[in-house]
């Protein structure tokens, strides 16, 4: 009996998928296993070997207490910047997207095109002019230097625009206007309650963008007490012996970090985003699917 051709194709497909899965999973698995091992074990043992919980505890302790609990300060800073930035981004993007989608004003189309153009512009490109602007306003070194820039979130505006223009029937707003609602009331009582999924989605993307932002805080902050966790991670690399062999000699009083500590720090740094995602997941999934089906 000949082996059917479509079975062969199916097998090839599965093999390709497995290969790619392995390719992308290996780094993640390695990252989560690394803190359970000592630096030596990391080099000598199999990449997928589990060290011990004892070592994991030590690694965790070392990274949290490093530099007078710097890690906790950075996390706190990141939280402040990200929550503030997210709040501002949502406050600005949701009404802006609503306005672009459901109201009429002169220059609406032009504004929409500009939103699209700046959306594809890399955020890094704006960091230098932003720095000059913030500096002129005397906000350099304050938390506002890292929160105010998130008021400009064209991606969020565009997402909101798509959501409102595809899911909210115009008659719904017309009905509210006839029912005596002012433009503000139409937004507040009709559009906004129906936009909960998109508020979560825009909020989530803004949070991730702010939390993972490196270049902006790199330019805007100058002191350890101001650093967010992403800048902190860079500091940690500077304190890791294997990445800076000449700085650390035996017997030096400086606390020396090792590669498993760094892996631990990375895990701590991404944990808040994971937690936010888990909590927002239900709202996020419904936001991503909104408009896909007609009710």
């Amino acid at each position: 009996m000949a082996f059917p051709r479509r079975h062969a194709l199916q097998l090839v497909g599965i093999a390709v998928l497995l290969l790619f899965t392995a390719f992308f999973f290996v780094p993640i698995v390695w990252l989560f296993l690394a803190p359970t091992k000592t630096d030596g074990q990391l080099l000598t043992q199999s990449p997928f070997a589990f060290g011990s919980f004892h070592t994991l505890g030590q690694t965790f302790h070392r990274i949290v207490t490093y530099g007078g609990h710097s890690m906790l300060i950075w996390l706190k800073n990141s939280a402040i910047y990200s929550v503030g930035g997210t709040a501002l981004a949502v406050l600005a993007a949701i009404p802006a997207g609503y306005g672009l989608a459901l109201t009429h004003f002169i220059g609406r189309k032009a504004l929409l095109s500009i939103t699209l153009v700046v959306m594809i512009m890399p955020a890094t490109a704006l960091v230098l002019p932003l720095f000059l602007e913030i500096n002129k306003l005397g906000l350099y070194g304050t938390i506002w230097s890292l929160i105010l820039p998130f008021g400009f979130f064209p991606f969020g505006v565009y997402l909101t625009y798509i959501y409102f223009s595809s899911t909210i029937p115009k008659d719904l707003l017309a009905a509210a206007r006839i029912d005596g609602a002012s433009e503000w009331s139409v937004f507040r009582f009709i559009a906004l309650p129906l936009a909960r999924p998109i508020v979560s989605l825009v909020g989530f993307f803004a949070f991730v963008a702010s939390w993972n932002n490196f270049f902006l805080p790199f330019v805007m902050t100058y002191d350890n007490s101001q650093y967010p966790v992403q800048i902190g991670l860079q500091q940690l690399i500077g304190s890791t012996a294997s990445f800076n062999p000449t700085n650390f000699t035996a017997g030096s009083s400086i606390v020396v970090l090792h590669r498993p500590d760094l892996a631990m720090a990375v895990i701590i740094a991404i944990a808040p985003v994971l937690i936010v995602f888990l909590f927002a997941q239900r709202a996020l999934v419904s936001g991503m699917l909104a408009g896909a089906t007609k009710e």
Binding site: P169, L172, A174, A175, A176, R177, I178, D179, F189, L194
Partner: protein
């Protein structure tokens, strides 16, 4: 209680060279149910939305109780509207939907609850007050949309094809309900539909529109018996009036080889005219009498039968009708219904024939 008046009201959509609503003059009397009817794209919904304030008025005036409202925002016009798709607020329950306008008007919570309950009682939807719109059937949603309108006690009701999303049986039941509700409330109502049966059965008066232009506004009976042009004649009535083109002669109109006798034809001999004959004005006659026709199909409805027939003469089929393609429809008794393909003879009831100008469609009066 209010009157509504459109005065030369015009709407031209941007980038369009033709007016969607062209110099509309229309008076809606106090407490009247006036139906705007016409084929899709005739401007009836645009007219309604102009009155609601949802559509810009390019020229002319629209008055409610004599006051021009063209520059007023929808919220300041004191009108309520029932939308084709109901436009219920999906995140609010029925009571909140119905009470929204009162809440916007700053009515006290207790009063809102009382008035919502009273309106719900009228519409028999009290048991659904806590439900969300998506938990309701189409008919229930339609009632909630009505409830949202009546709870406000506005000066004018606007209804934009409120029955078009209901199934046929429910539509018939609901149209009687809406008509009787409107009469008991006595609120001036402008009602839009494309369905001429709905228009005829519900309206105190019916305004027929075509291509943005008002054709005729009168009582259903007058529209049926005395249409001003061939369009109204063909649009009003189901099945529609038979419109057949012919040539005027002394003593009648010649359709092909047959002369349809008429005591006074309001056209000079030799002029092209369109003859309008209602299906009930035609009857089957014995051979040798009347106009010969071949039966193409018979629709039996129980109480009556519609015979679709093709007029024939000595030299073949007669000119095609404007809205009845080459055919005439005869309303007859099911017991006397002919068979398909049979040759029949049609008699025209005396004095029932209407004449229209073949080119313009305007009514020719004797």
């Amino acid at each position: 209680m209010a009157t509504v008046a459109f005065e030369q009201a015009t709407r031209v959509y941007p980038k369009s060279d033709r007016a969607a609503v062209d110099r509309l003059d229309l008076d809606v009397h106090d407490g009247e149910l006036l139906v705007l009817v016409g084929p899709s794209g005739c401007g009836k919904t645009t007219s309604l939305r102009m009155l609601a304030g949802l559509e810009h008025v390019d020229d002319g005036a629209i008055r409610i109780d004599g006051k021009d409202v063209v520059d007023l925002a929808p919220r300041d016009r004191d009108i309520a509207m029932v939308f084709q798709n109901y436009a219920l607020y999906p995140h609010m329950n029925v009571a909140q939907n119905m009470g929204f306008a009162l809440r916007m008007a700053g009515v006290a919570k207790g009063d809102i609850a009382t008035r919502v309950r009273a309106a719900a009682k009228i519409l028999d939807i009290e048991e659904y007050l806590e439900r969300k719109p998506r938990q309701l059937s189409g008919g229930q949603r339609q009632r909630v949309a009505m409830g949202r309108a009546i709870v406000r006690q506005p000066r004018v009701f606007l209804m934009d094809e409120p029955l078009s999303n209901l199934d046929a049986k429910l539509r018939v039941a609901t149209r009687a309900e809406i008509a009787s509700l409107q009469r008991s409330l006595g609120v001036t109502t402008l009602y839009v539909t494309h369905d001429q049966v709905e228009a005829m059965t519900m309206g105190d008066r019916v305004a027929v529109m075509r291509d943005g232009v008002l054709q005729q506004c009168d009582t259903p009976r007058t529209l049926y018996a005395d249409p001003v042009n061939a369009f109204v004649a063909g649009f009003i009535g189901s099945p529609p009036m038979n419109l057949v083109d012919g040539i005027a002669e002394a003593g009648g109109v010649r359709l092909g080889s047959t002369l349809v006798a008429a005591p006074s034809v309001p056209a000079r001999p030799g002029e092209a005219v369109t003859v309008g004959i209602r299906p009930e004005s035609l009857s089957l006659a014995a051979a040798g009498d009347g106009i010969p026709a071949t039966v193409s199909i018979v629709e039996e409805l129980g109480a009556e039968a519609f015979v679709y027939a093709q007029l024939v003469g000595a030299d073949g089929p007669v000119a095609e009708g404007a809205n009845v393609k080459g055919n005439v429809i005869v309303r007859g008794e099911p017991s006397a219904a002919p068979r398909n393909g049979e040759l029949v003879h049609l008699l025209v009831k005396e004095g029932s024939t209407l004449f229209f100008d073949a080119a313009s469609g305007a009514r020719l009066r004797g």
